[in-house]
């Protein structure tokens, strides 16, 4: 068969076009030497106002553009270091805290940092009352009293709280991003309808941090630019460029080709694929997320302690971390993530089908039971749910999965309409009270109480004596005693609650070998860019 001339010409043209495409000019360029280029899924960002931001990507960004009065040392996890406050103190009665501001520090705008800025920033969190506001309002602040309780005088800031707390609890909360200090003058210059600059700060920054937000395109990218004269010393790299790359395997390719420096959204499969690559290293560290099952106590027979115990023996913890959760999670059966004060690391529960069957028979269900389990329909959670469904089935608990969109599953859970549900929880601030006050504390289990932010309430579980134990632990001033108290609460919780805490997440960060000093913040999930070199 011969081609007619026209087709031969067309074929030649096509071949030429392909050759052109193959010319070396389109070969991938390396990333600029003064810029850290990262890829991650950043579509979780809903707001960049510190009073509202509460998602991983937003918190990462804000940690590098704002400072708070006191901070966690990125180099020594868990240790407090001065931020914008030079020193701080607490009164004898443990209810009044004073902070002395550092002098000579300026915001990115050039305005000096004053105690007044600090007072205003904390007050506005309470007055705006966005989701993370509870981190501050749990100390008794309300929009009406906050101007009296948080006061600036010269270079001193005084904060009065409404009852005794462990000072470490208060300090830990002050390191959270919600307590970032904002440039009052700049924010107020952009105020509309008395919103304390909220509309403007959703997409702009006005802080003291090492970087300034230069450009932000939602669900696409952001660019941070180093500001000269950062009080800790200038950032090593001039720019940080974050690209939204939702797919792990695309991130992996970009990293291998050198088109990005750091990939933060890789799956274990991607990481295993990177194993042989000479230019790339992978760092694994513990993240704060805990995965757990919650059993609604309004549902028969899930409110039977023997049934709950049987469920604890019907999860194949070890099997799952060796298969579907390999390199992704570790077994953790206390509700505090490892790395927190009071962590419990022993794992007494393991798959034991016979024991579980016996427990079910004791409970009066020798022929087993049937339940539904709601789960968010992302691939990892579905795999987890199927693994759990399988082993529960072996023990005689027939599980029907009820997958749904995130907001749908969450809505069911908050409305106490679930039976079993597979959920996760990340700590809100680096203090054990953050998880204790939600897993093991429930002052009013009635439907009318509507304590929708409290996990124990959501699953209709009366925490009993644990509520008082949590209240006692959060005011204990002796750190050693406090640690023991949280250990005791967790062990009791592990054996008797309506929760089955199972796993803690591992964070995987892959980087080109020339990238050094990237601190991801571990369980507090606050990444620092300003030490990074490449």
């Amino acid at each position: 068969m011969t081609f007619e001339p026209t087709f031969r010409t067309a074929g030649l043209a096509l071949a030429a076009a392909l050759m052109l495409g193959a010319s070396p000019t389109v070969l991938a360029a390396a990333t600029p030497a003064d810029t850290l280029v990262l890829a991650d899924g950043i579509d979780d960002i809903v707001s960049l106002d510190p009073a509202e931001a509460f998602e991983f990507s937003g918190i990462d960004l804000l940690n590098n553009t704002y400072d708070s009065l006191i901070e966690l040392d990125p180099l020594k996890p868990g240790e407090l270091i001065p931020g914008l406050a030079e020193s701080w103190d607490v009164s004898e009665d443990g209810m009044t805290f004073t902070f002395k501001m550092k002098s000579g520090i300026t915001f990115a705008s050039g305005n000096p940092v004053r105690a007044e800025d600090a007072a205003w920033s904390l007050q506005r969190v309470v007055k705006l009352d966005k989701t993370p506001a509870f981190i501050l309002t749990q100390f008794g602040f309300t929009p009406d009293n906050v101007d009296d309780l948080i006061k600036a005088d010269g270079d001193m800031l005084t904060i009065t709280i409404d009852k005794k707390f462990a000072p470490s609890m208060f300090y830990n909360c002050m390191t959270a991003v919600v307590a970032s200090i904002i440039d009052k003058e700049t924010a107020m210059a952009n105020e509309v309808n008395g919103d304390f600059g909220y509309e403007w700060l959703k997409t702009n920054t006005a802080g003291t941090g090492a970087y300034v937000l230069r450009s932000y395109k939602p669900q696409d990218s952001y660019i941070l630019e180093a500001r000269p004269g950062y009080w800790r010393g200038d950032a090593k790299l001039k720019r940080v460029f974050m690209r939204h790359v939702p797919e792990g395997s695309a991130q992996r390719l970009l990293l291998e080709k050198g088109d990005i420096d750091v990939a933060r959204g890789l799956t274990p499969t991607d990481v295993q694929g990177l194993a042989g690559s000479p230019d790339v290293s992978v760092d694994a560290d513990m993240e704060g997320y805990i995965y757990y099952l919650a059993a609604n106590q309004k549902v028969e027979p899930l409110n039977n302690p023997k049934v709950l115990e049987a469920i604890r023996y019907l999860v194949d913890y070890e099997g799952m971390v060796n298969t579907v959760l390999k390199d992704k999670m570790i077994v953790q059966q206390g509700f505090l993530p490892r790395g927190y004060l009071g962590e419990v690391t022993d794992t007494p529960y393991a798959l034991d089908v016979e024991k579980a069957k016996a427990l079910l028979a004791e409970a009066g269900f020798p022929n087993g039971i049937e339940v539904t389990m709601s789960v968010r329909n992302d691939p990892l959670r579905m795999e987890m749910a199927q693994a759990i469904q399988n082993t529960l089935g072996q023990g005689g608990i027939k599980v029907t999965l009820k997958p749904g969109a995130g907001a749908e599953v969450l809505g069911d859970y908050r409305a106490r309409n679930h039976e079993l549900t597979l959920q996760s929880w990340g700590p809100d601030y680096p203090d054990p009270h953050t998880n204790a006050s939600t897993f093991a504390w429930n002052p009013n289990n009635s439907d009318d109480a509507k304590l929708t932010g409290v996990l124990a309430w959501r699953t209709a579980w009366d925490a009993g004596e644990m509520t008082a134990m949590v209240d006692a632990a959060v005011v204990e001033r002796d750190s050693e005693k406090r640690r023991v108290m949280y250990e005791d609460i967790q062990k009791l919780h592990r054996d008797t609650s309506a929760f089955v805490t199972m796993f803690q997440e591992i964070g995987l960060t892959a980087r080109r070998n020339n990238v050094a000093n990237l601190h991801t913040g571990g369980t507090t999930d606050q990444v620092t860019y300003w030490y990074v070199t490449k």
Partner: protein, 358 residues
Amino acid sequence: MTRMTAPDISSPRPPSQIARRFKRVASVVLALFATFLGLLLVTFIIGRVVPIDPVLAVIGERASQAQYEAAREALGLDKPMWQQFGIYVWNALQGDLGQSLLTRRPVAEDIARVFPATLELATIATIFGILAGIPAGVLAATRPGSWIDQLVRLIGLMGYSMPVFWLGLMGLLLFYGMLGWVGGPGRLDAVHEMMFELEVRRVTGMILIDTALAGQWEMFRNAVSHIILPAGVLGYYSMAYISRMTRSFMMNELSQEYITTARVKGMPEWRVVWVHALKNVMVPLITVIALSYANLLEGSVLTETVFAWPGLGLYITNALFSADMPAVLGGTVVVGLVFVGLNMFSDVLYRLVDPRAK
């Protein structure tokens, strides 16, 4: 069926011509408006009956009941449904599509950001599809049963049946990962993307056009190297469709009597096929191409995910998963507009290629 060249029977225009034309335009506008209202109503109702609480999408897991109520009120969700719909339509008529719950920005602004990326990709993909699909279809039709026909059929079948996600990833692995011929995921390399963000004035939002307007030719070349692969993948699918349709239209056309007449007259075969026959299949083909283009303009979620392409498909899907109804409705309006626009455009094209439609 036989076809003849229609004789010119145009008669002098009656005096009521202008009034009739006006009437026709008015009825088209009315039909358009009714279509949109229906479209909005259906989307709106679907958004309300799905068991997803949009308030939770805004406030997240931690919010207290008081914060929940406050957000619900701020979103206007405490009002009766018909009132919510009325407010929405009224605002939409003034160009305000509301605020996205996810990005907290005006939906119109969001769409202006994501749509050019999709438009750019879909246009180039469709050009690929036409350039490869029509010749392949014609070739197959002129040699039915030959190996060329079989090859075109095979390629077309693969185009129908291969998952785009897989094809995209394999393409990336081969042409970007191993051969380094094309750019990777994203619309530009990081270095260029950052410079584009900081230095290039945004005119159309389409990187190829904006960089060309700014005279940034290196950036332009980089953008070309990034768009080739995703456009190629999408173009492959549209090629598969166009070539199959071209083949069947051509087969039908080539059996017509006027073709036999032309051949008997001794007209060169290429002229018979490429001029006489092809010209006559252009009308149905335009519909096929317009439909395939419109499909691509809705945005392809999977392609956009694999290639980290911030387009309309990804935007609407994200919005759907998070019950972000303002964004879903806004996206629906745009997709509706695209369909209507393309319909009108293909009407115009009919008139150009088919004198009888004038």
